[in-house]
């Protein structure tokens, strides 16, 4: 069999260090924001007792599910034996770990007591999905590192398939688990449905792949490695499939909600009257995150252009953040219904929110913390591809799949 | 009780003397020995600043070792970084008042202690498992690892299982500064810990632990790559020219 040759990322030192410096600056700002919020307490953020999870969770959840989605590419290669995806596997694993770490870090820094991280890692409540998620996350990191090892070390090659399959299953569990964090919140109208889990799975596929493709394009362009048109086409079609799946599950989600008749209020809220949240849903989640990229990918001309495909990936990511915002923040802002048939005319002291939409405006530090998490993920990736052999030397069609290119030229 | 304190006081005066004198002697010897030729391993930095950065990367990240052997790097780095944190944490016994920075690092020192022991265990395992490393290992290599692991384990035991009287430990060492012998708690673990530490201090200047200062004097790492721009010549080589 033909070997796939991997090489460290050979970006010019100045450019490379410049990139690291930028990422480091983003991370530093994120870190300072976290410190600021931690020092003063959460009152300096937009979060309240009504909206308890804000923008940091939007970023964290986005990064975590993207992490699991990023591994998809490797899974396709090993689990489903699609040889052409094999060269993409290592970067996929690295990106998965990096995104996961970025997301978890944001999550941890948004805790009320991050100093008790050790408590979180040593005392578990096994009835909590969240606790299972901690396992799922750390297990994920460990398994992917093992998986990477089987890909990189020839002694481990034989194990690649079983480990890869295990990682694949684990990853499904992880996204399902993340989705279930919300799915099992019976007290919140928007969440209480099992459809959230599969929705999160397809979202993870799309977001992970979009990030993967952007990183791949950038890394390959920066040190002049080729990506063949067949490869590009394959990736972009995959992305289209996932986007379509998101749209489909979104539809199902709202249909189930509408079907459960007493939920029509929250449906009205999301789809019609929810102001910002309605806007984010239609413009962000559906249009920018779904229809536009689909349009680009199936456009006869634009779909041939790398920069347009990259733009489509960017849109999927923006749409994903919007979707997370609607799911996480929107659902908290919507009042919890405790007294059916009654209107709440007073709920504690005047500022205390009950029975009406809770206000939430993210503060700057929250946003910066979120970006810091993205920065961490990218920094890990950038260092990883530089010091270890993650990137194949070429994704030109003839190197990846000699038969395919023979066929096409024939 | 106070006899024990006296013995330990004497031991630590001796160990500190050996450590300082021995190291100073070695460092002076290294500094005095000329490096007649430019032998940086290239690609090497072409400026002093670049060399400082290269050296920093070597000291902080063990860059070359990373390129050479990933497993050794993981364990080695864990051990050294752990050791570094533990050392910072230990400064609380030796400084009064304790600087804020040290105070803030305190809690991490414990993780450092654990990392250190795990790292050492990994390094030791390698000495048995990898045939090439087994071949180059001398008895002393095993003993140094054993010594460090014992120090770590006795320390962790004190931290987690059999607590000792930290106040007295600190007072003992504060006393040594001014030549007073205070009471040292006669807890067996503490005595063991301290005995091994004194041993470590004594062998430091006479063993491979010299790698710590050695790295800074390694010509293949600390030289600037500018032989064409600047003439580099050792005094003894200069003398050849006068003939």
């Amino acid at each position: 069999m033909k070997r796939i040759v991997y090489r460290e990322w050979l970006l010019q030192p100045q450019r490379y260090w410049g990139l690291l410096a930028i990422l480091a600056a983003v991370i530093a700002v994120g870190g300072l924001s976290a410190l600021y919020m931690e020092h003063h307490g959460h009152w300096v953020t937009g979060m309240t007792n009504s909206v308890v999870w804000g923008v940091p969770h939007v970023f964290a959840v986005f990064l975590i599910i993207s992490a699991s989605g990023a591994l998809n590419v490797a899974s396709i290669g090993t689990v489903f034996d699609k040889k052409v995806y094999k060269p993409l596997g290592r970067l996929s694993g690295l990106l998965a770990v990096a995104l996961l770490i970025g997301g978890l870090l944001v999550l941890v820094l948004d805790l009320g007591r991050p100093d008790r991280l050790l408590v979180a890692m040593t005392t578990y409540n096994f009835s909590s999905i969240f606790a299972w998620n901690i396992f799922l996350y750390s297990g994920f990191a460990a398994i992917v590192i093992g998986y990477l090892w089987t890909m990189a070390e020839r002694k481990g090659n034989a194990l690649q398939k079983p480990v890869g399959t295990f990682a694949f299953l684990w990853r499904l569990a992880l996204t399902t688990g993340t989705g279930s964090i919300f799915g099992f919140l019976v007290g919140r109208e928007a969440y209480d449905t099992a459809i959230l889990a599969p929705l999160f799975v397809v979202m993870s596929f799309a977001y992970g792949l979009a990030i993967y493709m952007l990183v791949l394009f950038y890394a390959f362009d920066a040190d002049g490695r080729p990506i063949g048109p067949a490869m590009l086409k394959r990736l972009k079609n995959l992305l289209a499939l996932f986007i379509a799946a998101i749209l489909y599950f979104t539809l199902i989600y709202h249909l189930t909600k509408l079907y459960g008749a007493k939920n029509d209020d929250i449906e009205t809220f999301f789809l019609i009257s929810g102001g910002l949240y309605t806007g984010l849903f239609w413009v962000g989640w559906i249009l920018i995150g779904g229809l536009l990229p689909l349009g680009i990918i199936y456009h006869p001309e634009l779909s041939q252009r790398r920069d347009w495909i990259a733009a489509a990936c960017g849109m999927v990511i923006v749409g994903g953040l919007a979707a997370m915002y609607v799911i996480i923040v929107g659902s908290q802002a919507y009042p919890q219904e405790m007294f059916p048939g009654y209107s709440v005319i007073q709920f504690g002291a005047p500022g205390d929110i009950g029975g009406q939409v809770a206000p939430y405006s993210p503060s700057f530090p929250e946003l910066l913390l979120g970006f810091g998490g993205v920065g961490i993920a990218l920094l890990i990736t950038a260092i990883g591809v530089r010091v270890l052999q993650f990137l194949p030397e070429s994704l030109a069609d003839r190197d990846v799949d000699p038969h395919a290119s023979a066929r096409s030229t024939a | 009780m106070s006899f024990l304190s006296d013995v330990y006081a004497g031991l630590f005066y001796f160990a500190a003397f050996v450590l300082v004198a021995g190291l100073a002697n070695k460092i002076i010897q290294y500094a005095r020995t000329p490096a007649p030729l430019k032998i940086p391993t290239t690609p090497a930095p072409t400026t002093k600043l670049g060399v400082t950065l290269r050296m920093t990367r070597e000291v902080v990240f063990f860059e070359s070792l990373f390129r050479g052997s990933k497993w050794t790097w993981i364990f080695g780095w864990m051990f050294h970084f752990g050791l570094f944190l533990v050392t910072l944490r230990h400064l609380r016994y030796f400084l009064d008042p304790v600087p804020l920075l040290i105070e803030m690092i305190q809690p991490f020192g414990i993780y450092g202690g654990m990392a250190m022991v795990v790292g050492l265990a990994g390094l030791w395992a390698r000495r048995f498992l990898v045939d090439r490393v087994r071949y180059i290992t001398a008895l002393s290599d095993h003993l140094i690892l054993a010594l460090l692991i014992s120090i770590g384990v006795s320390g962790l035991l004190m931290r987690f299982v059999v607590h000792t009287d930290i106040m007295r430990v600190k007072q003992f060492f504060q006393g040594l500064y001014v030549g007073q012998v205070q009471i040292l708690p006669a807890d067996p673990l503490l005595l063991l810990h301290l005995l091994l530490v004194a041993l470590l201090m004594i062998i430091f200047p006479y063993s491979k632990l010299l790698h710590a200062p050695g790295l800074f004097f390694s010509p293949s790492r600390n030289q600037v790559d500018n032989p064409r721009e600047q003439r580099h010549i050792a005094p003894w080589a200069k003398r050849l020219e006068q003939d």
Binding site: - | R92, P97, V98, E103, H163, M167, K170, Q171
Partner: protein, 140 residues
Amino acid sequence: AVLGVGSAAYAEGVGDFVLPSSKAASLENCVEPTEYMRRNHFELIRHQRDETVYGGIRGDSHGLSGCVSCHVGYDDTGAPIEIDAEGQFCRSCHAYASVEMNCFDCHATVPRGEAWNHEVAAAHAHLTGSAPIGPTAAER
């Protein structure tokens, strides 16, 4: 007012950190032998903490509120001084040994509104900030 600060920081013998103005000063021993307390007091409080929080056991002197009530120092006017203040009992040691202790992020540093028990409450009625004692349901 802050008595014994100087000696506290450099105390040599066992029990020398105890503040002369505290209740402990007049007693022979801590809740356990003092040698033991020096080495293991935090294990004790931690153990007691779980007993109290999960088991509801509050009738034991090993709790943090117990420590505070016995070891807190008083100024000339008889007002208690925060136990983690500079030179006070907990701080004098912990600063010297540079051991971080975040208990007092949450816990009161002077006896103030002790657990609801009218005996305890009555005993501290004279202290500023104590919870007002009302008649209990039983008494009414």
